[in-house]
Subunit: 148 residues, 2 copies
DNA sequence: CTTGAAGCTATAGTGGCTATAGGTTGTAGG
DNA sequence: CCTACAACCTATAGCCACTATAGCTTCAAG
């Protein structure tokens, strides 16, 4: 009796995808852009992954889930691969990304307020000429930079 | 004495760009995807815009600033062009977009919390093997779906 | 040995621009 | 009138991080 799938140490790409929650196509993409090293191949040229690949792909997925760019992940992986290096760069990447996320939140919140205001005034049912949504977009009173 | 630039009624693309805050290339792109109608041309084949174009482009810019997708803007413009139509669709687009923005904010906030936690634990200066950032990414304890 | 799922490569498409190359036109100064 | 140069033109490729498609080959169960 062969080992069950869940315990196998050398797995094809579909199993790697299942285990990590990363799609097959995305795994091949990560290989293509050099995030994930090229694995061994079967006699029939199919990819065969080991434990190290699972670990590395999980790392990548965590980082992507946290919104890190692929380029940042490349750097983070390099740091992770050389445990003796100082981690200042990792901290800078994380702090920088946190800043970006906070900026994005701030921008979205002001968008949210504006959209909520607009969508509340018009609940549909009226003619487009009297619609607050259309009016808000056509209106120039919010233009800060230009006097058209 | 010719009218000053600011008062001219028929303007080239650069002036339209200045007046609306939309880049020249982006204006041409909007024309290409059918948001902005093709303008008249000068004898030398250069675009000449009138007041209607300024209005329409301003509408587009407001909508993009609010984060509406180009496809949504296409619909909103169509509604705006036919003022007698009921505006339910416009309301649906705005409400839908508001929902998306709120979802995005929610997701970013949980990201922010996680990143802040990670970035606070490690302020740099230690070896990568002890870095909270690297560790958090390599760590499997947050994996919900898989037992790798 | 057959069948069907899973794998393979290469290529194009997504959204919303932005950039580049290589040419033409408009216009102000001399 | 001529020259210089900014502004304009088209067509095409690139950006990010995938996702989808077409047309194959391989693997594994029955």
């Amino acid at each position: 009796m062969r080992p069950t799938k869940a315990l196998e140490r050398v797995v094809p790409i579909g199993t790697l995808a299942e285990r990590t929650g990363v799609k097959v196509e995305t795994i091949r993409y990560y290989e293509q852009v050099g995030l994930l090293p090229e694995p061994e191949r079967s006699e029939g040229n199919q990819r065969r992954y080991g434990r190290a690949h699972v670990e590395r792909l999980a790392f990548i997925k965590h980082a992507r889930d946290l919104g890190f760019a692929v380029e940042s992940i490349r750097t983070l992986l390099r740091l992770s691969d050389t445990p003796g290096m100082p981690c200042d760069e990792a901290h800078a990447i994380a702090a920088g990304h946190l800043g970006e996320v906070r900026d994005k939140i701030a921008r979205l919140r002001s968008l949210e307020a504006e959209l909520a205001r607009i969508a509340t005034v018009c609940s549909g049912g009226v003619a487009a000429r009297d619609c607050a949504v259309i009016e808000a977009l056509a209106d120039h009173s919010h233009c800060e930079h230009h006097d058209h």
